[in-house]
């Protein structure tokens, strides 16, 4: 289970490209591509500024109509996927 207070940063071997409200990410080490929908894109943007899931949560709760429990669960799962894909790493 992801620690909501863990500090995260975008991995240095990753390039991103915004396309509208969505994002495509390329891991240059593995050659693997990932796509983020608008919610995932917003999360990555905010993560760059605030570094932890805990500090991003209140901001996104104001922007999206979703319960805190659901949003935290979704973002924790996304974080685990991004960690596994080498897109973000613990700071």
């Amino acid at each position: 289970v992801h620690d909501r207070n863990a500090r995260l940063k975008i991995a240095p071997h990753v390039v991103t490209r915004k396309v509208g409200e969505e994002t495509v990410i390329l891991n240059l080490e593995s050659g693997t591509y990932f796509g983020l929908d608008p919610i995932g894109t917003r999360y990555l943007d905010l993560l760059e500024q605030h570094a932890t899931l805990a500090s991003v949560l209140p901001v996104m709760l104001r922007e999206f109509e979703v319960t805190e429990e659901q949003l935290e669960s979704d973002l924790a799962r996304l974080t685990e996927e991004m960690l596994a894909g080498g897109l973000v790493e613990r700071d």
Partner: protein, 327 residues
């Protein structure tokens, strides 16, 4: 041996052998040079093969192997011979195995090796067929055996002009992606060619190891010789029993097109990054659709209609569309 100048994918190709599949060049300065060496057995083994291509119907034996040797790329087709590609991708040498026919060498050059060499100078090369409809190009993207050439031939039978069988070369000029004609030939299985009405007498064998036939202008298919603005990309899928299309988001298109792009070395971070940017620009500029249909001849007419429904040929950027008709 005299040098001949040919035109392919917007590039002037110099060659020490005749390449009858290609048209003579209209410009005099070659950008890529091909040289056929005397046949022989490979004398050296690279330290490491860093990539291999496998064909779906082969077990274990690689179709092609890739290695870096002295700054060059060595591309070995174990059953056919070696190609060497210079680091700047402007020089290609081929040493075929003894007994390999010239037609097979030309096929390997034009359909396998050259697409890897042309991805320079800002060009983008996609594993796709391309046709022109009303002066506007569409690309048909799909894996080997997915029916790209058959669909392209079907579109040609309904008035489109062929730009490429399997290698879509696009170049961005003045903010617009232009498809450059590849060569005037379409590779079809004999039953596909017969079904599409191409007489066997007007087709030639592609290579000695395959039953596929190459259809050129003598086979009645119209080929286009000028570059054409790219207005749509269609990614083939055999899902479902109906003919349907769905417009992809730019993110979905970006990821889908990367899978179909020619890339010599997926481990080269610089090349990956460059491709990432290029594909992103295409995905943002050109409408991209998933085209689902059961791969059967009798639905090709409806597939053509579905493609036309997605293209507003009076407007330069096409329009979003989602359609479904019974299969």
């Amino acid at each position: 041996m005299p040098t001949r100048l040919h035109e392919i994918g917007g590039t002037v190709l110099a060659s020490n052998i005749a390449l009858p599949e290609l048209l003579p060049a209209r410009a005099a300065r070659p950008e890529v040079a091909f040289e056929l060496l005397p046949a022989g057995v490979p004398q050296e083994e690279p330290e490491q093969w860093i990539r291999r291509w496998d064909l779906p119907d082969e077990e274990g034996r690689p179709w092609a192997l890739f290695a870096r040797v002295g700054g060059e790329w060595l591309i070995r087709f174990p059953s056919h011979g070696d190609f060497r590609l210079s680091s700047d991708r402007r020089r290609i040498l081929c040493r075929p195995l003894p007994g390999i026919p010239a037609a097979t060498v030309r096929h390997l050059l034009l359909d396998q090796v050259l697409p890897l060499a042309l991805r320079h100078g800002g060009r983008f090369v996609l594993h796709a067929s391309a046709v022109a409809l009303a002066e506007q190009a569409i690309g048909i993207v799909g894996q080997s055996g997915s029916g790209k050439s058959t669909l392209a031939a079907s579109l040609a039978g309904a008035g489109a002009e062929l730009l490429s069988d399997d290698c879509l070369v696009a170049e961005e000029r003045d903010g617009e992606w232009q498809v450059e004609p590849y060569y005037a030939g379409l590779r079809l299985w004999p039953d596909n060619a017969a079904e599409l009405g191409v007489p066997r007498s007007q087709a030639v064998e592609v290579a000695h190891y395959t039953r596929k036939l190459r259809i050129d202008q003598r086979g009645g298919l119209p080929f286009r010789r000028s570059s054409t603005p790219l207005r749509g990309l269609f990614i083939l899928s055999e899902e479902g029993d109906a003919v349907s299309t769905r417009r992809l988001s730019a993110r979905e298109a970006h990821v889908a097109l990367v899978e179909a792009a020619y890339l010599l070395d997926p481990g080269d971070a610089t090349a990956l990054k460059e491709q990432f940017e290029t594909v992103g620009r295409i995905a943002a500029a050109v409408p991209c659709h998933i085209l689902c249909y059961p791969y059967r001849y009798e639905v090709l007419g409806r597939v053509r209609d579905a493609i036309l429904d997605c293209l507003d040929l009076t407007r330069p950027t096409g329009r979003p569309c989602t359609t479904e008709t019974p299969g």
